[in-house]
């Protein structure tokens, strides 16, 4: 259940005795603005590294050790049209630690977020220089993960490389190198005073105790975000294509699709089933026909981002098979659109979605995520019963209709040296 601690500051507490840990997530949400990605990302490195009371990494790490090996990290992500900075702290239950780690955990969050190492109105210049360089080098090295590189390039192609949706949530190496002390302070002020805050606490906790601890963070009131959450990109008339040459043993062929389905209601569930059938599961057409039967790929799968009306197919293939694989992928989507699948397969796909969903309720991360989506996405239902009813009601005609609303928009290929 969610309560407002102040205007624009909300707390959701999910008491459960299922786990040996308490998970605290503190989300800071701002409208997606590509010019702020790098500063917000570098800020997470700065906040994770030092605070006024724990001015070195050693001191901060030692405090986490004292907190019975608590896990702590701050990261960035996109949620529809919003940019999210999230601090996550996982504490072992007092039952096992024999200590009051929950209060100490909130004290640490308060220290990290409200008392960073700022002296005379400046972040430490030496720490800034080092963290900035490390971030830039890290972002550059992401190119070494070819699958990730191809996935990011496909999104840039689909959404537009300079746009908030096309640039990754963590920014670019050039952007990181351009962040100075003033930009970092401004990002910190934005986070602390203007971002909408969603606090989620899950575990063997007492609502009243968590409310009291959360209020010690003393976040000031701020306006609620009014930017819509969902992103929809207008349909293009022609398919964009991009080919990149890279010294790889395995080539990557990725396809981006616009998904017409809404983000709630019967057609939302139908799109989930259609995507699962097309490429989302080992029973899917992409897995069984592209990987298993044709033996053309080690991986061939689709993923759906309903809140961005976006679907991506990723494959790892031989450069020489490019045209064959692309034609074969197209045939698979057509098969879903035409209803060329058995009732048994449809039933199994739905059973798989339900089983995976139910299993996810065994993880603190998923449960906390549902609490956040409850706050952000209108029409979202976090309970399993609603999901089960939604999936169960999907019929063949609805799957076909949802698949018909999946339109190829972009084609990205990264291939080896034999390219001309």
């Amino acid at each position: 259940m969610s309560i407002a601690l102040a205007s624009g500051v909300h707390l959701s507490v999910l008491p459960t005795t299922q786990f040996k840990t308490v998970r605290i997530e503190l989300h800071f949400l701002a409208p997606l603005d590509v010019s702020t990605f790098s500063a917000r990302t570098l800020l997470t490195s700065m906040l994770e590294t030092s605070t006024a009371a724990y001015p070195t990494q050693i001191a901060l790490s030692a405090e986490l050790e004292r907190l019975f090996g608590a896990s702590f990290g701050i990261g960035v992500a996109k949620e529809g049209q919003w940019h999210r900075v999230t601090a996550t702290l996982t504490l072992v239950n007092d039952q096992f630690s024999g200590e009051g780690t929950l209060a100490a955990g909130f004290a640490l969050l308060n220290e990290v977020l409200n008392h960073p190492l700022i002296t005379a109105g400046q972040f430490d210049q030496g720490v800034l220089a080092r963290e900035r360089e490390n971030l830039a080098l890290y972002l550059e090295s992401m190119a070494e993960d070819r699958q990730l590189q191809a996935s990011l390039a496909t999104q840039a192609l689909y959404f537009g490389g300079e746009s908030g949706q096309g640039v990754p949530s963590f920014g670019t190496p050039e952007g990181a190198r351009a962040v100075d002390n003033a930009a970092l302070l401004s990002a910190y002020q934005q986070l602390l005073t203007r971002d909408q805050i969603e606090l989620v606490v899950l575990g063997d906790v007492d609502q009243a105790q968590v409310e009291a601890l959360a209020s010690t963070l003393a976040f000031a009131p701020r306006p609620e975000l009014s930017v819509p959450f969902v992103v929809d990109t207008p349909l293009r008339e022609t398919v964009q294509a991009q080919t990149e040459e890279a010294p790889v043993n395995q080539a990557k062929l990725n396809l981006a699709y616009h998904v017409a389905a809404p983000t709630s209601g019967p057609a939302f569930y139908a799109a989930m089933v259609a995507e699962e059938l097309f490429g989302g599961s080992p029973l899917s057409f992409l897995f069984t026909n592209v990987r298993e039967k044709a033996s053309l790929a080690y991986y061939a799968s689709s993923s759906l981002d309903p809140y961005r009306h976006f679907m991506m197919v990723q494959t790892g293939i031989d450069t020489a098979d490019r045209d064959r694989v692309e034609a074969l992928i197209d045939t698979q989507l057509t098969a879903v659109q035409r209803g060329d699948f058995s009732d048994d397969l449809l039933a199994n796909i739905k059973a798989g979605l339900l089983s995976a969903r139910l299993a996810a309720y065994d993880t603190p991360r998923f449960l906390a995520r549902q609490a956040l989506l409850d706050r952000l996405a209108s029409g979202h239902h976090s309970d399993f019963a609603a999901f089960k009813a939604g999936i169960a009601a999907v019929d063949r005609a609805q799957v076909q209709e949802a698949a018909a609303g999946m339109t190829l928009q972009s084609r990205y290929f990264m291939g080896g040296e034999e390219l001309s």
Binding site: Q57, L64, Y298
Partner: protein, 432 residues
């Protein structure tokens, strides 16, 4: 049937060994929706030399055969086991390591059906010329994918240095050339030797009744013709040979950041009994004390730009070998490996080994251990890994508690030797 409740971790574990030799380990988790089941075989990528069941001479199999076999067990003459799991909504998977092959499913419904499918498909092999040849295409793609992964290349680079004559140096997947030699006959021969119930463990973690699972497994075994267990004969013995180590190699790859890794080869076997388990945890705590996040040494290297957040270390102890690796991305690959080597060269003389911080590090390690018990997958993996030895996953809190700073000093004295060290670098290609 042996049942134990572990008060310190609030966990129950039921263990038994069936007449066929199959071990069964069950960890009931009544508050979970999911059940995670795994059938593991004490057979992995290093087991390419062995005496086949019923034969007297040893044979040499192609590299990658254990992984190939794992892939091929799913496919039968008229169906694929994936589809049987899929019909219940379950998801299935498998993986092969150096010493272990595991088949698993995760399900929320029809657990009996899925357990029967798991036991059945692993114990009922079907290999044909056509399906084996088709699999070479899929695994060939997998090999290509790993070749593009610098982390994978770094890992097998240092293993190649530490173990030039031990099969752990070989990629788990084998190579395109080695798997070309795999035939149905070779698969059947390895299968018969290693996939005996006496060489396997069934692990089930989740919302199940242990007695019921055991009865189901017993019924499965009773319905099969199972010969008395003959332990596989594996001529590969423990490799602690320091003279064999290649001290340094480097590779160039099209990458952005140089990579540097240091390996330390263990010279004495580390078994899965109490002594070995305690030693393995001791070495991990030792590495944490010297190179972990709260180490002044790590901080000074971080501040000097010698290491970054990618820096990591681990200690691995398996049948016939054990080693530590330390490394990560480094602007100057030599600076990192030289800094690490200098610390190791000091042996037991480690000023950072002091009581106050050790107490804190041990406390934190215990907390991390409790955190790991949330995940059914992690619990099943660890329970299964330790199912062949006398120390179980839920004994580890007690083992950890008993470790002292003197144990760390003794481990440093035994493990840290300059002649046990090797270095591997991967450097960016320079454009001509």
């Amino acid at each position: 049937m042996k049942e134990r409740f572990y008060t310190a971790v609030a966990e129950r574990q039921v263990t038994t060994q069936l007449a066929s030799g199959l071990r069964v380990v069950i960890v009931p988790r009544p508050t979970y929706h999911e059940t995670y089941a795994m059938l593991s075989v004490d057979y992995g990528s290093i087991d390419t030399t062995y005496v086949p069941l019923g034969a007297s001479e040893k044979v040499q199999d192609p590299e990658g055969i254990a992984h190939f076999l794992e892939h091929k067990l799913f496919e039968k003459a008229d169906h694929d086991a994936f589809d049987l799991f899929g019909a219940t909504g379950a998801s299935a998977n498998a993986f092969t390591g150096a010493t272990r092959t595991s088949f698993l499913f995760s399900a929320t419904d029809q657990i009996d059906e899925n357990l029967k499918t798991l036991l059945d498909f692993v114990q009922d092999p079907y290999f044909s010329e056509a399906t084996v040849n088709k699999e070479k295409g899929i695994i060939g793609q997998e090999i290509m994918m790993y070749q593009d992964d610098p982390g994978w290349r770094l890992y097998f680079g240092i293993l190649g240095n530490l173990y030039p004559t031990h099969p752990v140096r070989n990629d788990v997947t084998g190579s395109v050339e080695s798997i070309a030699a795999i035939t149905p006959d070779l698969l059947y021969r390895a299968y018969r030797t290693f996939y005996q119930p006496g060489n396997m463990t069934l692990t089930v973690v989740g919302n199940v009744d242990p007695q019921h699972v055991i009865e189901l497994a017993e019924a499965d075994q009773a319905a099969r013709t199972i010969a008395p267990y003959q332990a596989p004969i594996r001529p590969v013995s423990f490799d602690g040979d320091l003279a064999a180590i290649l001290p340094y190699r480097a590779a160039t790859l099209p990458l952005v950041r140089p990579k540097s890794i240091v390996g330390i080869k263990g010279t004495t076997p580390v078994d899965d009994d109490l002594v070995g388990t305690k030693y393995a945890i001791t070495v991990r705590l030792l590495l944490e004390m010297l190179f972990g996040d709260s180490s002044p040494l790590y901080q000074s290297w971080y501040d000097a730009g010698i290491v970054d957040d990618s820096f990591d270390f681990d200690f691995t102890a398996q049948r016939t070998y054990n080693y530590a690796t330390l490394g990560g991305d480094a602007t100057d690959a030599s600076a990192l490996s030289e800094a690490l080597t200098a610390v190791i060269a000091k042996g037991a003389d480690q000023p950072l080994l002091e009581e106050a911080r050790f107490a804190r590090i041990k406390h934190a390690a215990l907390g991390k251990y409790y955190q790991s018990l949330n995940s059914l997958e992690q619990v099943a993996n660890q329970v299964s890994d330790q199912s062949f030895g006398p120390i179980g996953l839920f004994d580890l809190a007690d083992v950890m508690q008993a470790i002292t700073l003197a144990d760390l000093q003794a481990a440093a004295s035994q493990f840290f030797r300059l002649d046990a060290v090797s270095v591997f670098h991967i450097l960016p290609e320079v454009d001509a």
